[in-house]
Symmetry: C2
Subunit: 245 residues, 2 copies
């Protein structure tokens, strides 16, 4: 059935097992508990064997980040699957709620992927990764692109876009257009004002800010149930783009 050799199959299987155990340790006991010896112990092998698969513990953690992003993307895609394709605001709600739910359910993974300094996690080749994690970034860009591509009216930009950001925002707009186009319907670049691209960036700031503050417990006061605040924030973000439903 498989044309791969027996050795290749076993290798791929072991590699998956290693990552799975590493994830389990990360989730259950935190980043520091992801030790090569503990992983090997659970797998019934010895620690040096792991060096046949990863250059170092840091290398393994770096690849874990990719796995986590992929899993998050799968979860968000599942949420998106039940949303009508033409209901863009429902898609935005689904992705944002899904992101928050995932972050609160997996704080250690959130911290590793979204709150690690570059030097504690090794260099992540800044040229290739234009976005936080390939898979999760794809979904974010996709929904963001569709959102601003379908925004109801040429919204008067609430704020002036700083002049010095024009170049960066224009290349980001190109990435958004590519992502949307690759997923299906192409979009007229003219209908994507720079101010909307800027607003999307600001929305990511707020989405990320709220979720991170909640995960890390750094809101300035105890909040009984933060979900209404999250919903209210999303509603305001959409309202500022001209969506009034």
């Amino acid at each position: 059935m498989t044309e791969a050799t027996r050795r290749e199959r076993l290798r791929a299987e072991t590699e998956r097992d290693i990552r799975r155990q590493a994830r389990a340790l990360l989730v259950s006991h935190g980043r520091d508990a992801v030790t090569l010896r503990a992983i090997a112990r659970e797998l019934g092998i010895t620690a040096p064997a792991l060096y046949r698969y990863y250059d170092s513990r840091e290398d393994l953690l770096r690849r874990l980040v990719d796995d986590i992003c992929t899993d998050l993307a799968v979860e968000l895609d599942t949420d998106l699957a039940v949303i009508p394709a033409d209901d863009i605001t429902a898609q935005v709600y689904a992705v944002c709620h899904g992101f928050r739910r995932w972050a609160l359910a997996h704080p250690q993974e959130f911290a590793l992927v979204f709150a690690s300094t570059e030097d504690t996690l090794g260099i992540c080749r800044p040229d290739q990764r234009a976005q936080v994690g390939d898979q999760f970034g794809r979904i974010f860009l996709q929904v963001a692109g569709r959102l601003i591509a379908s925004h109801p009216a040429p919204t008067p930009p609430h704020t002036d876009v700083p002049e010095s950001l024009h170049a960066d925002l224009e290349s980001f707009r190109a990435v958004l257009l590519d992502t949307v186009a690759a997923q299906g319907e192409p979009v007229d670049p003219e209908v994507l004002p720079l101010s909307a691209v800027y607003h999307i960036t600001q929305s990511w700031v707020r989405l990320y800010g709220h979720v991170a503050l909640e995960v890390f417990g750094r809101f300035p006061f105890a909040i009984g149930n933060p979900e209404p605040m999250f919903d209210s924030m999303l509603a305001q973000i959409l309202a500022e783009m001209g969506f009034t439903d």
Copy 2:
């Protein structure tokens, strides 16, 4: 001169040295490098001696957080000292710019204080700490309280405050009033609408979100110079409160 005994003086001195070395290791080589043995080595003592001062490495890290918050507060207070007492928007700019500058200059310390999950850092007795770090929290509350206490007009609330947040926001308003009153001029509680308190919370979400995204390099695209974006965000936050300068 000092009425403390020789032993007490030496103890206090050693304790300061320990924390200073721990901070140096944190800043220069990251959280994982803050090792009891490394600290002891630099101080010319042995690692078990540190247990006369701290219960464990985790305990030491927890107290480091307090030190860092205090230092951050001192830095922000220095910035505030040169701002006219009646120019509240300038004070807001000073604190926000100072917070961003500090975070970018001390990413490891920022990550430890503002992006650590509760269980990786031990429980921080949620009853006592009403705010992120006592000292830094004091400054934030102080400026935030003064800001909404002096907001120019009874701003029409852009968004409705979710019903379920009223109770939490009211107790937060009380904390804000206490902080401002303890610092000098008392404030009429009536001039502090709940929607403004809510807006302050949303502003913290945006301030924190921008700074954390910049520190962790998680903006969705490469930004040549993020400072204009930060300034633009601050301007918008103030504009939404009715400050138009």
